[in-house]
Amino acid sequence: MTNTRRTLARRERELTLIHAVMVCILILILVQSLLLMVAVEGFLGDHRELLLPAAAGSGLCFAGACWLIRYIVRRPAGEKK
C-alpha cells in the first residue's frame, strides 16, 4: 500500500470515528433534553420525586459524552479544511 493510500485510509477511519462520536453525543443530548422536560414538569407540578432520577440520568448522559469525547481529544487533528 502506498503512503498516499495509507494516509487516505487513516483519514477515512478518523472521520468515521468523529462522525460516530458526534452521532452518539447527539443522541445523549436528545435523551438529556427529554429528561430536562420531565424534570421541569415535575418541578412545576410538584412531583419532586422525579427530579433526582432525572438529574442522575442527565449526569450519566453527560459522563457518557465526556467519555466519548476523549476519542477525539486524544487523537491529533488530521482533518483538512
Binding site: I25, L26, A39, R48, L51, F62, I72
Partner: protein, 159 residues
C-alpha cells in the same frame, strides 16, 4: 494589478470555519449545560421546600359573596392571585388563578360552572380544578379553605 484582497489578506471563510472536531467538543458543552439545568432544578426544589410554609390568612369579604360569584384574593402573598368561588350557600372553593398553561388569569363562568382561560381557551372544572379542555397540562392548584366563625380562611395551597 493590486486588488483589495491584497490589502486584506485574511480569509473570512477560513477564519470562521468550524471543524467537525470543534463542533463535537461544543456538543459536550451543550450536554454539560443540560446537566447543569437539571441540577439547578434539584437545588431549587430543595431550597423552596425549606422555605417557611404559607401563613393562613382570612379572605376579606368572602361570606358576602353571592352564590355563583367569584372573588380574587392574594394567597400566600399579594403577588399570588387566587380565585374564590361560591358554589352554594355553604360551599366555597378556591384555586390559584394562574392558568397552568402559560400563566394567564382564569375567570369563573357562572353559567357553565367552570374556570376559563381566555388566552388559549383552557377550561377547568369549577369544583375540582381539573383540566376539562384546552392546552393546560395540569389542574389548577387548590387552596384549602376553612370556615372560622364569620370568616373564611385560606390555609395552604395544594398542588
Amino acid at each position: 494589478m493590486q486588488t483589495w484582497q491584497d490589502d486584506f489578506p485574511i480569509s473570512w471563510v477560513d477564519d470562521h470555519y468550524v471543524t467537525r472536531r470543534e463542533f463535537t467538543k461544543s456538543l459536550v458543552l451543550v450536554s454539560c449545560s443540560a446537566f447543569a439545568a437539571n441540577g439547578a432544578l434539584v437545588v431549587g426544589s430543595a431550597l423552596s421546600s425549606r422555605s417557611a410554609p404559607a401563613t393562613p390568612a382570612a379572605i376579606p369579604g368572602a361570606l358576602a359573596l353571592p352564590v355563583g360569584g367569584s372573588k380574587v384574593f392574594g394567597f400566600p402573598g399579594p403577588l399570588d392571585p387566587c380565585l374564590l368561588v361560591r358554589l352554594g350557600e355553604e360551599r366555597f372553593v378556591a384555586f390559584g388563578q394562574r392558568c397552568t398553561h402559560l400563566g394567564c388569569p382564569v375567570i369563573y363562568r357562572e353559567q357553565k360552572r367552570d374556570l376559563y382561560c381566555p388566552c388559549h381557551e383552557g377550561i377547568f372544572d369549577g369544583e375540582s380544578g381539573r383540566v376539562v379542555a384546552g392546552p393546560p397540562p395540569r389542574p389548577l392548584p387548590r387552596v384549602k379553605l376553612e370556615r372560622r366563625g364569620d370568616e373564611l380562611w385560606a390555609l395552604e395551597v395544594q398542588l
